[in-house]
């Protein structure tokens, strides 16, 4: 039989531990905000002023116009124009450029020839993302410039019109806010609970609690309650910073999002509890919790790399970890504004995982102590 008084006693004690250990509390509250700003500015995919050079062996007016066009674009900053590059690789090393546009000596003549002119673009591929950005931008830009030089118009063959839904401006904030939500909630919940339980084992107080009339379940519930609140505060912080600093609005129902977050927090706490039954020391609990939550969440949940493009074994793992499902829910609610009707499946899986993990943790908790 569970006693509310005893659960409250344990929960209150845990709150006291949290308040006493104010350094940890500061980390717990400041870290999400810091991560938001770090990701917010570092993950900014909108590249600007990429340093490039142009090789222009015979500077006729046509080639000049082309070079000016390149320089005028926001994306590129021309670091210099060379006559002839005997060793292009040397230019990359020497000037730190990311691309080299090579116009042939007879560019003006070639332009008016039937086969068209050839322009070579050398791209630094060491940063694949940047390389892709340059490649995607270079062709339409040069094509447009060429048409202008020739005073010609492109014959209309195909009119391709893309329309990006949900994140029309392709803002990276809309991409990292849900991801950080998934990471921070999981990390905080799993880490703090596993460390809190491991600390009691280290102190020997766990044994003391277990010889008292406390039921193991009362210990678990009492210990978990304060961390549910703490995790919820962190979730709120992420959303608040996302809204205030990055202008991310929740398109869907915020209450539904809160409910799903609680389910996710519950699952995360179960993971932490399970870890704490397997280790004896706080330090081991910390490494295990970070390893079990941080790495798979960042790499495999679809936060950074799309799940579709993963090889099968990793795709299977990504379909096991709870963050994948939570991410689907958060992106759905924040970006698409969808609710239970569309998201019942991931929510159901999340709850099922939480209940399964919690039952295993409770069983192991009883056996071990």
């Amino acid at each position: 039989m569970m006693s509310r008084l005893r659960i409250r006693t344990i929960a209150l004690k845990e709150v006291r531990h949290i308040l006493r250990d104010w350094q940890t509390l500061v980390v717990v509250l400041v870290m999400p905000v810091m991560m938001m700003f770090l990701y917010g500015y570092a993950l900014n995919a909108d590249a600007k002023e990429i340093p490039v050079m142009i090789e222009l062996p015979s500077p006729g007016p046509e080639a000049r116009t082309m070079a000016d066009k390149i320089d005028a674009s926001q994306l590129f900053a021309v670091k210099g124009i060379v006559n002839a590059a005997s060793d292009p690789a040397e230019l990359f090393k020497l000037h730190g450029i990311k691309a080299l546009f090579r116009f042939p000596p007879g560019f003006a003549r070639e332009l008016r020839r039937a086969g068209g002119a050839r322009v070579q673009v050398l791209i630094d591929g060491s940063d694949p993302n940047l390389g892709t950005i340059i490649r995607n931008a270079a062709e339409p830009m040069l094509m447009g410039a060429t048409l202008e030089v020739l005073n010609a118009r492109q014959p209309k063959v195909l009119d391709l019109r893309t329309l990006i839904l949900y994140n029309p401006e392709q803002r990276s904030a809309l991409f990292f806010v849900p991801g950080l939500m998934a990471i921070i909630l999981l990390m905080i919940s799993a880490l703090l609970t596993s460390v809190a339980v491991a600390r009691e084992k280290e102190l020997g107080t766990m044994g003391q609690l277990l010889v008292s009339p406390l039921h193991p379940l009362e210990i678990i519930v009492g210990k978990i309650i304060p961390y549910v609140f703490l995790a919820a505060v962190d979730g709120f912080l992420v959303l608040a910073v996302g809204r205030i600093a990055f202008g991310v609005r929740i398109a869907g129902n915020p209450w539904f999002l809160g409910l799903c977050s609680l389910a996710y927090i519950f699952t995360a706490l179960s993971i932490g509890l399970l870890i704490s039954t397997l280790v004896k020391r706080q330090q081991h609990a910390m490494f295990a919790a970070l390893g079990a939550t941080m790495m798979p969440t960042v790499l495999l949940s679809g936060f950074i790399f799309p799940v579709i493009s993963m090889p099968l074994p990793l795709r299977i793992i990504s379909h096991i970890i709870p963050a994948t499902y939570f991410l689907e829910i958060v992106r759905g609610v924040i970006l698409k504004g969808v609710g239970l009707r569309e998201l019942w499946a991931p929510l159901l899986i999340l709850c099922a995982e939480g209940i399964a993990l919690m039952s295993v943790a409770i069983r192991k908790f009883k056996v071990k102590l």
Binding site: S3, L5, R6, T9, I10, K13, R16, H17, R20, D21, L203, G204, T205, G207, Q208, L209, L210, V211, S212, P213, L214, L369
Partner: protein
Amino acid sequence: MEYSIRTEQLTKRFGAFTAVDRIDVAVAKGEVFGFLGANGAGKTTAIRMLCGLLQPTSGRGTVAGFDILKESGKIRTRIGYMSQKFSLYPDLSVEQNLALYGRLYGLDKKALQERIRDMSAFLGLDALLGRVTGSLPWGWQQRLSLACANLHRPEILFLDEPTGSVDPVSRRNFWDLIHRLSSQGTTIFITSHYMDEVEYCHRLSIMIDGRIAAMGTPRDLKRESGRATIHELFLKLVERKPAAGTAPADTAPLDTAAAGGPA
């Protein structure tokens, strides 16, 4: 005779290793019973079974009149337990630690305040109630442990090596407290490997390799074995330790002493 603790053939095996081997113990109410043995002799395992923290492999036992196999929940409300390791919350104040354990044992606000006042007066902790526990000297932390284990006025106090790494003066004080509690009717079950201090016990048993090799009052034990101190008796018993697995034939007189129990 009313017994607070009674076991029959209580046994705990971990795989092939027998930690506690068919022990018979009977402790009378209000008695200070010393449960001696070298490190690894099986003392802590035996205590854990009595407190309901560990399921026995075989045998039976009652604590405070309740079956250790089936009624560990009831047992836990009637016992106090203080482990060899300091097991209070160092970041909480003395009073917070006391209140925490009091509430876990279901004391209401009024009873709690009363008991904290009485207990801290009894143990001389009054002036320290507001102090953070981790900042207290060892001897005081240990008194606080005793206070926490005793706040709900248990019938039986299990003390697992309570005097480990404590200076002699604190140890002496600690034993004074034990005897005061005993005179108030609390049964004390105490393990130790300090052979000098166990002379303070009413009765004691010596455990060797999971078996009880001797049991009786300190005086009887010394007289029967012809040794001047319990320390010497203990060393003799350890030296006579037979090779593992074979039955000790030459411990017969001591086994008789063990079977004799409290007179």
